[in-house]
């Protein structure tokens, strides 16, 4: 009976049109991220949008009040490299939609979100632990394809996609995967591709008449790379060894790319050069193992050291706890570990909220608590990075969705009787 009541309660919560109400989160310590923390602050939400944040906010009569006294209020967390909704079960082929076949290891035209499964069972447990937005990124090949930003709400694919595309994805740390035999050959292939994009832009009519030389990728891929070459779309290049990172910086200079580095195992050795070039790095704080010859100097202090040098840092998982999917929820612990290994607390929080929002062109809508932003907001029982902290409320565009996850239902079924 208790279970049935619980189910009814949960269902009613799930389908209440909470978003259409005015919600006032009061009394908590508010981390806007875009500004200093506000003790005893209020976050006012109306129709899915934040309308006021501050220490003295007038709360309209009839607003739903959430008492956050003694609690922490932050923007919804953003996990910037995931394959949520693209891969359901790693070893079940039919649930894998993250990698394109491409043509000659180039899949620039691949729009990974077109295979997104918004009914993925990973949405609910990730959301319920405070992650409201993720970047879904393609993988494999030399140029993997285009990434998108999605909110972990429920709805149709078109409803959960926040922005697409947000970046082109490529890698220069695996020659084989790029269809080449050496790093040098890989770089040559990438440069030839970019040259061909330029050539294609200049000779489109000839191309359509089949009156040009053969180019290194089909038209759709060349077309998709135009905004990259024009510096309008960021390109995230995976590189680990420090000379790979320098090669990426050179490439960015030569082609005026809006570059981001992911992986970045040895990026701390290039911190000054990354800072000078204003190139951000997406890296983690949970790997110190020289697990390949390209990652000999991988360390847990990387994020802290990059930040100190002035590099913009986004924290993503780099341990092996699968923070790109099943445990994308653990991005907050990546931040906690980054702090344990020298990163400033506010920087670490920024690195999983506003920094990724800025990188992927989302900061006018999410990543901070400011009037006018979408109400992606989390109320935590304490420090978001601590294991002891529980998530109390998660709003995505002002809507709270407490639909139980599969994991919740399994626990409910099997936990010993008498537990609460």
């Amino acid at each position: 009976m208790r279970k049935i009541l619980l189910a009814i309660l949960l269902l009613s919560l799930a389908y209440l049109p909470v978003w259409s109400q005015t919600i006032a989160i009061t009394g908590g310590k508010v981390y806007p991220v875009s500004g200093p923390p506000i003790a005893n602050g209020t976050v006012l939400i109306r129709d899915g949008v934040i309308v006021a944040v501050g220490a003295s906010v007038n709360i309209p009569a009839g607003a739903q009040r959430i008492d956050a006294t003694g609690k922490i209020v932050t923007p919804g967390l953003i996990n910037a490299i995931t394959n949520i909704g693209l891969v359901e079960i790693g070893q079940v082929r039919d649930t894998n939609d993250a990698a394109a076949k491409g043509s000659n290891n180039i899949a620039a035209a691949f729009k990974v979100w077109e295979g997104l499964n918004p009914a993925s069972s990973v949405f609910a447990p990730t959301r319920s632990e405070g992650v409201t937005t993720v970047i879904i990124a393609p993988r494999g090949g030399l140029v993997s394809g285009q990434a998108a930003a999605i909110d972990l709400g429920s709805g149709l694919r078109s409803e959960v996609i926040r922005r697409s595309p947000v970046a082109m994805i490529a890698q220069i740390d695996d020659a084989q995967s790029a269809g080449t035999n050496s790093r040098g050959e890989l770089m040559g292939k990438l440069r030839a591709l970019f040259d061909d994009v330029k050539f294609y832009m200049a000779h489109r009519l000839d191309y359509d008449r089949a009156a040009t030389k053969t180019l290194s990728a089909p038209a759709a891929d060349l077309e998709a790379l135009i905004p990259v070459i024009q510096g309008r779309m960021p390109i995230m290049i995976d590189a680990d060894r420090v000379d790979e990172i320098d090669a990426a910086l050179q490439l960015a200079r030569d082609y005026s790319l809006k570059l981001m580095i992911s992986g970045g195992a040895e990026s701390w050795l290039a911190a000054d050069r990354l800072a000078a070039a204003h190139v951000p790095v997406l890296t983690g704080a949970m790997n110190n193992i020289p697990d390949s010859f390209a990652r000999l100097n991988q360390r847990q202090e990387t994020a802290a050291m990059l930040r100190r040098a002035g590099v913009q840092v986004v924290l993503v998982g780099n341990g092996d706890g699968d923070e790109s999917r099943f445990n994308a929820r653990n991005i907050k612990y990546e931040a906690g570990n980054a702090v344990a290994y020298g990163m400033n607390y506010d920087d670490a929080l920024r690195a999983i909220t506003l920094a990724p929002a800025e990188l992927f062109g989302l900061s006018d809508r999410i990543g901070s608590l400011q009037a006018g932003r979408d109400a992606n907001v989390v109320v935590w029982s304490g420090d978001p990075f601590e294991f002891s902290t529980r998530v109390e409320h998660v709003f995505i565009r002002g809507r709270e969705n407490n639909e139980p996850s599969r994991q919740d239902l399994l626990i409910e079924r099997y936990k010993p009787k008498g537990s609460r």
Partner: protein
């Protein structure tokens, strides 16, 4: 995107791409035995390896405790794993043992005194599921030595013969507070071979790391891995898996009888030795502990029945992703459950992973413990336990810190049959101790100092004393 999408290196899943078999005869005989023998001639009596000897120890431990000083850690919060946490407690380490623990321990004249104000002390962490050394870093094919994936039953292989003591993952595990680990063969096979229990200490040989007197383990594996690896030749189904285990035990039982008879009578020629059956016979005699990789609840129940059919005991299931569904069965059969905090979803049999697994397993009364199966996870087992403990509380199961500390220490010590020597802070036990910067269940706490047998082998604040493997010299920068 390789590094970011690196499939979690569930080393058990990783299968050697190219397997070079080294004939046993070519394996090093430099086992440290004090018996320099001339090349065998007909007049030379057979060595002890010539006949089947239960408890034979052909690769004996040469571990010697490192130099140590009498040490008193005081004013610390001490999680003993043997009773309630002591506030403002002291631990005295002397002659490699824990000599005193309590709130009123005075420092002997010769003792190094360490102020533990604001800090925590726990027993050394024990990781019952590691592949460090047999899947070393860097992860190159040349050193990929964890799965002898050439036959579904390879009871004849011993993990220690793959362990590279220069694996840089060892010092990193020590820095995470791990003092003892069991290194297992991978899970490609139904029966993967013998494990080895080592102390996490610098050594030139694996013998120099071996935990003196520790029993061997036998690695077995259920489910998807064996049937995937042997799809072509079989087993290719779960029923094929079960037929495979049973066939092996039938052979083992016959072998055990033949040898037990001969050992009793010494009549006629000794039966011919078979390394694989010898290991299995030792399991049947109770001298080797079974560690069984198994995810699904229904398969664990079947493995329990197989053990009963042949009269052996399963010491612990590993991974045990669905342990929470059959915790009562585990309890009734006295089987330990080694689990992750939150790994799941990487294959079908891991699809029902829940974060309350350890808490439910424990609350029902089975012996629950954390394990890593990962050289990264091994460095943060305290954090894994924190996640699992708080997930239990979120589900309404009140796991205390005093209970959770056992998942890291005394329960895995039991799984290795070493709970009389390690796993708790009690007088007389080995002085394997970790000093933490704060509560080990906080994300911000780190191991500061680690002692093994009373010797401080890790000190976060003393870079000069840092253990650097041969591999790292000249390759990995020193400030790393």
């Amino acid at each position: 995107m390789r590094s970011l999408y690196r499939i979690s290196l569930v080393a058990c899943l990783v299968l050697a791409f190219s397997i070079q078999q080294v004939p046993l005869a070519q394996q090093s005989k430099d086992s440290g035995q004090a018996k320099p023998e001339a090349s065998p001639s007909p007049s030379t009596p057979p060595g002890p390896g010539g006949i089947s000897t239960p408890n034979a120890d052909p690769f004996p431990s040469t571990y010697q405790p490192f130099p140590h000083r009498t040490t008193l850690i005081r004013n610390a919060t001490i999680m003993t794993a043997a009773g309630p946490t002591l506030q403002n407690g002291s631990v005295l380490l002397r002659d490699g043992k824990i000599a005193a623990v309590g709130t009123n321990v005075s420092a002997p004249a010769d003792a190094v005194v360490i102020d533990g104000t604001g800090k925590y002390v726990t027993p050394g962490i024990i990781d019952v599921h590691s592949h460090i050394g047999d899947y070393p870093a860097p992860g190159v094919d040349a050193n990929s030595d964890g799965n002898e994936a050439t036959n579904p039953v390879t009871a004849n292989v011993w993990a220690e013969h793959s362990v590279w003591p220069q694996d840089p993952q060892f010092p990193r595990a020590l820095a995470g507070g791990v003092t003892t680990m069991q290194i297992l063969p991978g899970s490609a096979n139904l029966i993967g071979g013998r494990s080895v229990v080592v102390k996490v200490v610098p050594a030139r040989t694996v013998q120099g790391m071996k935990f003196p007197g520790a029993k061997y383990g036998l690695k077995m594996a259920c489910g998807e891995n064996p049937k995937r690896v042997y799809q072509q030749r079989g087993p290719s189904t779960r029923m094929g898996n079960v037929a495979g285990y049973r066939a092996a035990w039938i052979q083992a039982e016959a072998y055990r009888r033949k040898w037990d008879t001969w050992n009793a009578t010494h009549k006629g020629d000794a039966p011919t030795r078979d390394l694989g059956l010898e290991t299995l016979a030792e399991v049947l005699r109770g001298n080797i502990l079974v560690h069984n990789h198994c995810y699904r609840a229904d398969e664990m129940a079947q493995m329990i029945d197989i053990a009963k059919e042949f009269g052996y005991k399963i010491r612990a299931f590993h991974h045990t992703v669905e342990g929470y569904k059959i915790a009562d069965l585990l309890k009734a059969n006295g089987i330990g459950a080694a689990e992750w905090a939150d790994w799941g979803g990487f294959k079908m049999e891991a699809n029902d992973s829940v974060k309350a697994n350890l808490a439910i397993t424990d609350a029902v009364g089975a012996r629950a413990m954390i394990h890593s199966d990962s050289a990264l996870g091994a460095q943060r087992l305290n954090q894994e336990v924190a996640k699992a403990m708080y997930a239990g509380r979120a589900a309404g199961i009140n796991i205390t810190e005093d209970q959770a500390i056992k998942w890291l220490t005394i329960n895995p010590a039991w799984a290795l049959g070493l709970d009389d020597k390690i796993g708790s802070i009690e007088v007389g036990k080995n002085a394997d101790v970790v000093l933490w910067s704060g509560n080990p269940f906080s994300v911000y706490s780190r191991a500061e100092k680690v002692w093994i047998d009373g010797s401080m082998l890790y000190d976060r604040n003393d870079k000069a004393e840092k253990w650097r493997t041969d591999f790292e010299l000249g390759l990995v920068k020193e400030d790393n």
